[in-house]
């Protein structure tokens, strides 16, 4: 009895370490400032997490398939700028495309997604066909995407100014709410559900896992690894494109620096959420939670007024601490 109880407590602690640490963090912050326990804070955190969740979902595909993707951030940036440039009011005085009429919100959305898809396909082709290691292939296309973004943004009359003057229908995407929950949160959760279904319930998903876990075994079993890699990179690209569009809508602006660093945040969140850089593992809930934990740390530390410098230190230590506790679950049997 005694023994089994001890075992089960330890079991819970080890298996839910991350959740427990996050709960503790929330409790500590809440004790320092009870306002933390509010719907508003919850909504803020979810909102701030939403585009990152979408990026992380894209990134998860890549990690599960056994590659790495550094192009996420810059693709978000490129998509944001392109979407923004197509979402301006007709009478805005430095309109990016002066001759274009006002367009329904679907146009910038589709454009952003297509941009993402394009980068994704370029990545996929370089990795799957040209056999460039994914780290380098996506680094290369990241540079191209960023360069293209700078060139695009610099086009007169914009001349690298932040884009603004977006249509309300567009900014609503990122700021308006339904039942006091911002659309953007629905969208992020929707993406999570789709990704979850895709990865766990469809043949494609299973093949992605198989190819990522052991591409040699997948190949000899007749899986078209080339196709799988193209599709994963394409899906990831679509996620980045969507996130870019939402990022522009949410902030009401876009510049070429948008998205910078998101790829690292995404990879980190995925790994905290249980993905591995060697491929073949990952689940939507873990990654969702991985993003959340980073955003709770970010938000919480700012919330209590900790200086940015200390935030870096504390954040780094929390990550190492939390993950090292979390890792104990894999060591139980030796």
């Amino acid at each position: 009895m005694e023994n089994s109880k001890k075992y089960s407590l330890r079991f819970v602690l080890e298996n839910y370490a991350l959740y427990i640490i996050m709960a503790l963090m929330i409790i500590i912050i809440g004790m320092m400032s009870p306002k933390f326990f509010s719907l508003r804070v919850l909504r803020d955190i979810l909102m701030q997490s939403s585009t990152r969740i979408i990026v992380a979902m894209g990134c998860m595909f890549i990690l599960v398939s056994g590659s790495a993707d550094l192009s996420g951030g810059r693709t978000v940036g490129l998509a944001a700028v392109v979407a923004g440039s197509l979402a301006q009011k007709a009478d805005y005085y430095i309109k990016f495309w002066p001759s274009l009429p006002e367009m329904p919100v679907i146009v910038p959305l589709i454009a952003a997604i297509l941009i993402g898809l394009l980068v994704g396909l370029a990545n996929g082709f370089s990795v799957a066909k040209l056999k460039v290691p994914s780290f380098l292939a996506t680094l290369g296309w990241m540079m191209v995407a960023y360069g293209a973004n700078c060139l695009y943004s610099n086009k007169p009359p914009n001349n690298s100014q932040p884009l603004g003057g977006f249509l309300k229908s567009f900014t609503d995407l990122g700021t308006a709410s339904f039942l006091s929950v911002p659309y953007i949160i629905y969208i992020a959760i929707g993406v999570c559900i789709v990704v979850h279904l895709l990865l766990t319930k469809t043949c494609l998903g299973r093949e992605i896992f198989a190819a990522g876990s052991n591409s040699e075994a997948a190949r000899v079993s007749g899986i078209n690894v080339f196709k799988i890699q193209m599709i994963t990179f394409a899906i990831a690209g679509v996620c980045y494109g969507l996130a870019g569009c939402l990022e522009a809508a949410r902030t009401g602006s876009a510049t070429s620096t948008y998205g910078n660093g998101y790829e690292m945040d995404a990879i980190a969140s995925c790994i905290v959420g249980g993905c591995s850089l060697t491929g073949g593992v990952g689940n939507v809930f873990g990654v969702f939670f991985g993003v959340l934990i980073f955003n709770v740390i970010n938000y919480g530390l700012t919330f209590i007024g900790l200086s940015s410098y200390w935030q870096y230190v504390v954040k780094g230590l929390i990550i190492i601490f939390a993950v090292s506790i979390d890792m104990r679950k894999y060591r139980r049997n030796d």
Partner: protein, 325 residues
Amino acid sequence: ETPTAGVIWYNFADTFIQNARQTLLNVAKADGTVEIVDADSQNDIATQTNNINNFYTRGIDYLVLNNINTAAISEIVQKAKEEGVVTIFANTDSPSDEDFANYDGLYLVSSRAPQSGTIMGEAAVKYWKEHPEADRNGNGKMDYIMLLGLTWHYDTQVRAEYSIKAVEDAGIATNQIGGEVVAEYNRGQAQEKVAALLANFSDDIDIIFACNDDMALGAIEALKAGGFFKDEASFLPVCGVDATVVGCDALRDGTLLVTSLNNPVTLGKAIYKTMYLLENGKEVTTETLNMKGATVEGHRIWLDYTAITKENVDEAAYDITDTTF
């Protein structure tokens, strides 16, 4: 052989820099006295060091340096002297009097960076005095959030320092909320940080200073989401710097209190004209330069920041395709 100027900007991704750069390129192309090649330090001192080296190797007649290595100014000047290249420090911390004495081919074309801080501070003081309700928690202190750009960046440092200095010089006590809030000149980051601070200190915050417009606008978005800017009563002063297009939009909307213009066109033209005058064997003086808002003190050419508010927002317009100088 047309003389060549090697121009090194600290970061092409910076809107202001980009416009100054473009102006300089346009003017040079139209005029043709001096040819421009430029390079991007990508916000990195080591890259800047490489760029300087590369230009010397390549062979240049002028070095225009938007310097970020403010700790090594004398060394840079010394090296320029040894290479015999006329050097113009552009929009950066000024070399010292000794440096100017040391090398005759040294010039500075720059805004007075502290002005941008002072302009924010003075606008804040004006608002504070005109609006007794501005002390929202009634503690008699101006409770502010200071949004910093890149921490070590000279502009960030002087803007933060001089804005608060102007407030305190006016006899107003201040209180900083949230410590150093670093948002890297970035709108999204500023938005997220201010949202978090608002959730906790919503009733205390009296004003937000931002070291550039992008961060100011991020703050405004967060404030809007936090229930501000619905009407007169829910106004909260936010100050920015740069007078970007979107910044001016916010002035017109009545959300941004003040910004200041460091006119990139003036900077680009002043740099070019300095070289133009030197090429033609003329001295650089306020008169020979003959540009609005530019004053020459010895080899230092100072450009003024202009305070921009809702009233004079049209003055913030500039045209980078204008090549007259």
